[in-house]
Symmetry: C2
Subunit: 356 residues, 2 copies
């Protein structure tokens, strides 16, 4: 990839994540040589405004990514499986938001603040696939990585409060339309989800493994955490739940540490981690919420408190705890998807610049 | 208390729980000698339809409960503290839905299916106060008591998904009105809650202890569980969260057992526990939801699966696990409050009948 402003492609440009990517690029006035937009045949021919331009959306076909330096894929696993490998083989850096390649041993799975360093090993030339983790994994590891670095994490128990946006624009519309229906006394008509989503809480819509009882989302969070942290030993229990929220996920997290920490040291570890903001005021009950996270770049963390259900140690006037509870929230479309992909692109671009 | 049909009083008759109590009594054609309704001065003089009657609501004043056999209190802790002790002293059986007396050592804290037996010790004569547990505690212990009896429970980690109804009728209206406002592009205006409740997830609205970081709801769940189970050792971590749901609470529960259980035995223990229904079909993703629980009497439990983050044992062809995850949902106004209180009343009446 050359050091000149890169030719970018967004695959899945008409989807919620694709549009969020364009919003972020436009807000940064991103120095791209060109931005090319691709989508399914159905959306081909439509135009999308970007900065002062109006860009026509093209159908993604074999060879359509020729000349592109970096392609941001967000069109589902099937499209990624079909088009990403040949693009990478022809020299394109593919940053893939689908789950298609995340667990491939040779594909880096990257949250820049957490393990961006693994991208430094390449020389910046040649195509490749870099995977963007699952949105719930990203939010979890943004909150926990500083803790893992400081004290080691033995076990994680997490329950999610996931927004409709993770299931796409149609799911977000379904939540709004159903809410209006219910308020007007009409029946909720589920189409995208298997359950009514308005004024309801239900188990995540991904397939449930008949043997383990875990759904795909829960399994992804476990496997991706282990890969990103390079820690096959960390014990993780995940429960993934949808809530009637539009675009930010929240997570209730319980952690068991390898090395006990005082509450002050635990908090200090969370401070200054890039991309993480502590929202934690007990007096005013000011903690992370879905709405506080929505539209923002940072993952919010709060409700930080020792878990009295695990042992504690006295250390000369300071009480150190082996367990803590916390509550995190992050925008599913931004840090959970589009922003993280663009941050990966930034790292790739830096690599090129420093290689030159 | 006499064996004839009792004179009942409902204190807080115009509130959400009071009205739910009346609905349940009417649906059962409850054999009461009379039903007297009390509320604050503001509501006095209004009438409420009950079966074929129209009952006038009176202001609760000193002596107003004279002649009453059983009084169901649901008007907040302050009213209970002021009026319940003199009523009990004058011979009334008070079943109190507030938190005022729950932790008093001499006050029974009762979920009939769980520890109803402790009411058998009385002879059914004379007044007393019996406390109705917190709604989140009831739902948790309905799901876990059969497990505790079968295998012993060492540690519980629970995150709640709590409905607006727990904060009363005004909170339910706030959720509906705010949702309509947001859908129409208007700002959400929080009044009852400290955060917007439409399309949002936020930490429970009770006060947070500045020392422990736990809110009042979380502390109640811990203390009440220990009292009801008579187990001061059980380790419990609670995280209480509000979700935009009208009237049913859900809970994501992780348990660590004293004695490992195979998944089959764990499920078998949950089967046939009165008031508990298993909703757990992995193939069709059919599990408990807030809406499935709303309006029903039973607590629903599902997403039953071994927690792979805890050790397992091989026992001659059967794998036994020390940890399990599950997801429960229950109607906050019914089993979480009104129904449980009426079930306590049923036990008290049985006691009288069997004493006679």
């Amino acid at each position: 990839m050359p050091a000149r402003p890169p030719i970018l492609a967004i695959v899945g440009a008409t989807g919620t994540v694709g549009r969020e990517m364009l919003d972020i690029l436009a807000s940064r006035d991103y120095p791209a040589g060109a931005v090319r937009l691709f989508a399914s045949k159905r959306s081909a021919g439509s135009t999308i405004a970007y900065c002062d331009e109006s860009i026509t959306v093209n159908e993604l076909t074999a060879g359509a990514l020729e000349g592109v330096d970096i392609a941001l894929f967000s069109a589902g696993s099937e499209v990624s499986r079909r088009f990403a490998p040949p693009a990478a083989a022809s020299g394109v850096v593919v940053i893939d938001n689908s789950s298609a390649f995340r667990m491939e041993p040779e594909v880096p799975l990257v949250i820049p603040e957490v393990n961006g360093g693994i991208l430094e090993r390449g020389d910046g030339t040649g195509g490749c696939i870099i995977a963007n983790p699952n949105c719930s994994t990203i939010i979890l590891l943004m909150a926990l990585t500083p803790i893992q670095r400081a004290f080691g994490i033995k076990r994680i128990i997490v329950s999610t409060y996931q927004a409709a946006s993770g299931a796409g624009a149609a799911a977000m519309r379904e939540l709004s339309d159903q809410s209006a229906d219910v308020l007007a006394g009409r029946d909720a008509r589920p189409v995208v989800f298997h359950e009514p989503c308005a004024f309801n809480v239900f188990s995540h819509n991904t397939k449930v493994d008949p043997a383990t009882g875990r759904n795909v989302e829960e399994q992804k969070m476990i496997e991706e955490t282990r890969k990103i942290w390079r820690d096959e030993q960390v014990a993780i229990s995940t429960t993934c739940i949808r809530v009637p929220v539009l675009r930010a996920h929240a997570e209730s997290i319980n952690v068991e540490l390898h090395r006990a920490a005082s509450e002050a040291r635990f908090r200090a570890a969370l401070t200054d981690f890039p991309g993480l903001t502590i929202v934690d005021d007990r007096g005013s009950n000011d903690f992370p919420t879905s709405l506080k996270a929505a539209g923002g770049d940072d993952v919010l963390v709060g409700r930080i408190r020792p878990d009295a259900s695990l042992p504690r140690e006295d250390r000369g006037g300071e009480t150190a705890h082996f367990g803590f509870d916390l509550f995190a929230a992050g925008d599913q479309l931004r840090k959970g998807a589009a922003l993280n992909a663009i941050q990966i692109m930034d790292l790739v671009r830096q690599r090129v610049t420093s290689a030159v």
